[in-house]
Amino acid sequence: MDYNFKFPKDLYADVRIEEWYQIWLNQENGEVKSDGDLSEVGAIVRVFDGNLWYTATTNSLDEIQGQLDDLAKMATPNPDILENEIVKSYEVHRDVRMNYDGENDLRKVTRAYWKGMQDAYIEKCVDPEIKECNFWSCGISGNHRVKHFYSSKGAAIAYDDQCCNLSMFYGYTINGVTNYGGAYFVKMTAPELLGLEQEIIEKRDAYLDYAKNAVDVTPGDYECVLAPIVTAMFTHESFGHKSEADFMLNDKTLRDEWVLGKKVGSEKISICDAGDMLNHGYVPYDDEGTIAGKTYLMKDGILTGRLHDAKSAGILGEKKTGNSRAQSYHYQPIVRMTNTYMEAGTDKFEDMIAGIQDGIYVKDVSNGTGNSTFVMNPTLCYRIRDGKICEPVRVHMITGSVFQTLFDVDAVGTDFELFDSYTCGKGGQSVNVSAGGPSIRVKKLAFS
């Protein structure tokens, strides 16, 4: 790597440099709405004296050394800084991991290629015979990032990550009311976005059927089956955020509630987080330089681990897990998920449905949040009657208690899927993550 900084004496410092490339191309109803690309370089410089962090950002890499020097003047020199608990735990790795080169590098994909892909999807997936369709949009976008990390302890790391996105959305207007729905895909390389027509058409037709035929749900508690994409969100919102250890550091109530070894769910459930998977939450080294790994958060229903940065691991006396992440060079890192999923079980999807007399199948979901009550906003639901999937049903919101629902899972399917189409918001920062899981059956959730 090319950078050689003069780090200040008697202080800890690190520098994170990010080179971004983005493209986007969006059409609505046959009109090009946006068409552009952007290259951006920026850095965040951090200095720590054992008491306070001092940080600055810049888009001029020539200014990094000057920023280091200016921040050092604000800090209080600490000859024992290397003995500071947090600094002492920082790892020192020297590594380069570039995963995308040659034709896999989206920076080498031409605008003509993206436009050709988009036009092909529009031709195949927009049906002018569907009279109810007043609106459609097709969006293609991509992000490529190269991240460099240097620390005063000697760390020097560089890696790249990227993602390519395709969305096809439709608006169906029936009796003056417009329902929107469609498909959204996130893949790691441009060629992986090819060949998705069948999935898009299935979603297109499902949402049209929903717009025409869905009836309002009678609010209440229902036994339900969650499709893998919904389980993924449930896992992320109901449990994933509770695993981020920074919320409990000096909070006795929460530490007593979430003590390792406690049974927190059905023995059918195991949940983990892994930053080294080349998916949307890929983080081979976190933004403190810690190497990634796989962390079991729950194993067979037992709380087995948490997600940490150096500070939370130190305070709780647990191992670092490589989960310190920042949205971009504009931010300092905080504890975040990466690729978080519920492992596959042994139950068959058909048996889950067959076992329900009166319930709901939740097939798709748009977003969710999690506190003690978690919330999910579904987009496609169907009634289950006498063991069969029946008519579409309109549901605004699904809620459940985090403390109870994990015990109410009585079947975990074999049909595991990992979804890269997720972003996660926390503390004003949004990071790319993936979330996954199989179909699951839950004895009771509240639908309204």
Partner: protein, 407 residues
């Protein structure tokens, strides 16, 4: 034969100093400075755009924009001109002043509310926005604010957090911070019952924005808006008047000119008057495309051509205070709530996990979790109580009172 090239540039400079508190302790001080430029060249009914983050020589930026004329982004409209500057900065704090203020605010919290844990961010942000072009346009808006965001958690709670408040001031006043902290925390531990009539007291920007979306000229013309065919019809409450207001008095880091470079007469556009939607809003392109009036505003777009948007929505205030509007009833101040969003019919469901009960003078206690439903046309229709003439609570800002229904 090509027409002469006209060049334009949009610039946004932002400087922020931030202090971050975690677990009630100061953990970091940050400085950020950003420069964003959108270089544009107009020729033969097209525009070439180049967006850059960081310093860039103008000639290089315009050359890159000219190279992007190959993308053939259409802009066959008359370019605007005009000169006006607006400087809304009041008391710009130094880093030392900001730090001292932040530490003082946190000390007030920890001294007076030791049973709570706090996470707080305080930013001082200065912004300079400017648009110029070869035809002599020079529009500029400068602004500064101190923004406080506070998350609190009670020691006995099993939640990750229990509530949040925020507010922004151009001249920071610590007495307002203390008043807001007392309002939210003093009676937090006292549990009270859910009242029969549920009246929500909150900021209204999100709700107003939803109605604004329905008045997007493109949505109305396509037939995808719930207000399609209803312009001129009494749809909302007689007391509900909604306008886009870019005037000096109502600006908050917002420009008086829009993405097309247009400035409205009196800086305002009335969208709903006494319950009657008056007009859909449209930028130049949408107006031409659908044969509807060009009203503005257009949103600023640093990377492409503008479109309809960039609204700065304001609901006309009642001449009554919040207490007078409540008229002896209670209001609910949500602290931690999750909404389903508004569906295709304008319905919404909300889980209000944590909220406070307000009697018109102060907070009387904390409510248990409950779920409610509403419809956007009822929120501004039969369930609309009003926007008070004063700002007694809710982030020191305008607040709306509206009814919701228990589910």
């Amino acid at each position: 034969m090509s027409t002469e090239m006209v060049r334009a540039k949009d610039v946004s400079i932002r400087k922020t100093s931030s202090l971050d508190f975690k677990e009630s302790k100061l953990v970091s001080f940050s400085k950020e400075s950003s420069l964003e430029s959108s270089f544009r060249v107009y020729q033969d009914g097209k525009v070439g755009i180049y967006y850059h983050i960081g310093p860039m020589d103008d000639e290089e930026g315009y050359a890159k924009a000219a190279a992007n004329l190959v993308r053939e982004r259409p802009y066959p409209f008359t370019l605007e001109t005009g000169k006006r500057a607006r400087d809304k900065r009041e008391k710009v704090m130094t880093d030392e002043e900001l730090r001292a203020t932040a530490v003082s605010c946190m000390k007030y919290l920890t001294d007076n509310y030791p049973k709570f844990r706090f996470e707080m961010k305080i930013h001082g942000t200065e912004q300079d926005r400017r648009t110029i072009n070869d035809l002599g346009m020079d529009y500029r808006h400068q602004d500064y604010s101190v923004d406080v965001g506070l998350i609190f958690k009670h020691a006995d709670s099993k939640n990750i957090n229990d509530g949040y408040f925020q507010f922004s001031l151009r001249t920071f006043d610590e007495t307002i911070f203390r008043r807001m902290a007392d309002l939210y925390l003093a009676n937090y531990e006292k549990e009270v019952e859910i009242p029969e009539e549920l009246i929500i007291d909150t900021q209204y920007y999100g709700l107003a924005g939803r109605v604004g979306n329905y008045l997007n000229g493109e949505e109305l013309a396509r037939g995808t808006s719930l207000l399609t065919g209803k312009i001129g019809e009494k749809v909302f409450s007689e007391d509900f008047t909604l306008e886009h207001d870019a005037s000096d008095g109502e600006s908050w880091f917002s420009t008086f000119w829009d993405g097309d470079g247009c400035v409205l007469e009196n800086d305002k556009l009335v969208l709903v008057e006494n319950g009657v939607p008056k007009i859909g809003f449209a930028d130049k392109k949408t107006a031409e495309q659908y044969g509807i009036p060009h009203t503005g505003p257009a949103y600023h777009n640093f990377t492409d051509i503008p479109g309809p948007g960039g609204l700065n929505l304001r609901i006309k205030r009642s001449d009554k205070t919040i207490k007078e509007l409540l008229n002896g009833r209670y209001a609910i101040i949500p602290l931690d709530s999750t909404s389903s969003g508004f569906n295709e019919k304008g319905d919404t469901t909300m889980v209000i996990s944590k909220s406070l009960l307000y009697d018109g003078d102060g907070v009387v206690g904390r409510l248990p979790e409950f779920k409610v439903s509403a419809n956007i046309f009822d929120i501004f229709g039969k369930d609309f109580i009003g926007v008070g003439s004063d700002n007694p609570i809710t982030y020191n800002d305008k607040q709306i009172l509206y009814r919701v229904h228990r589910t």
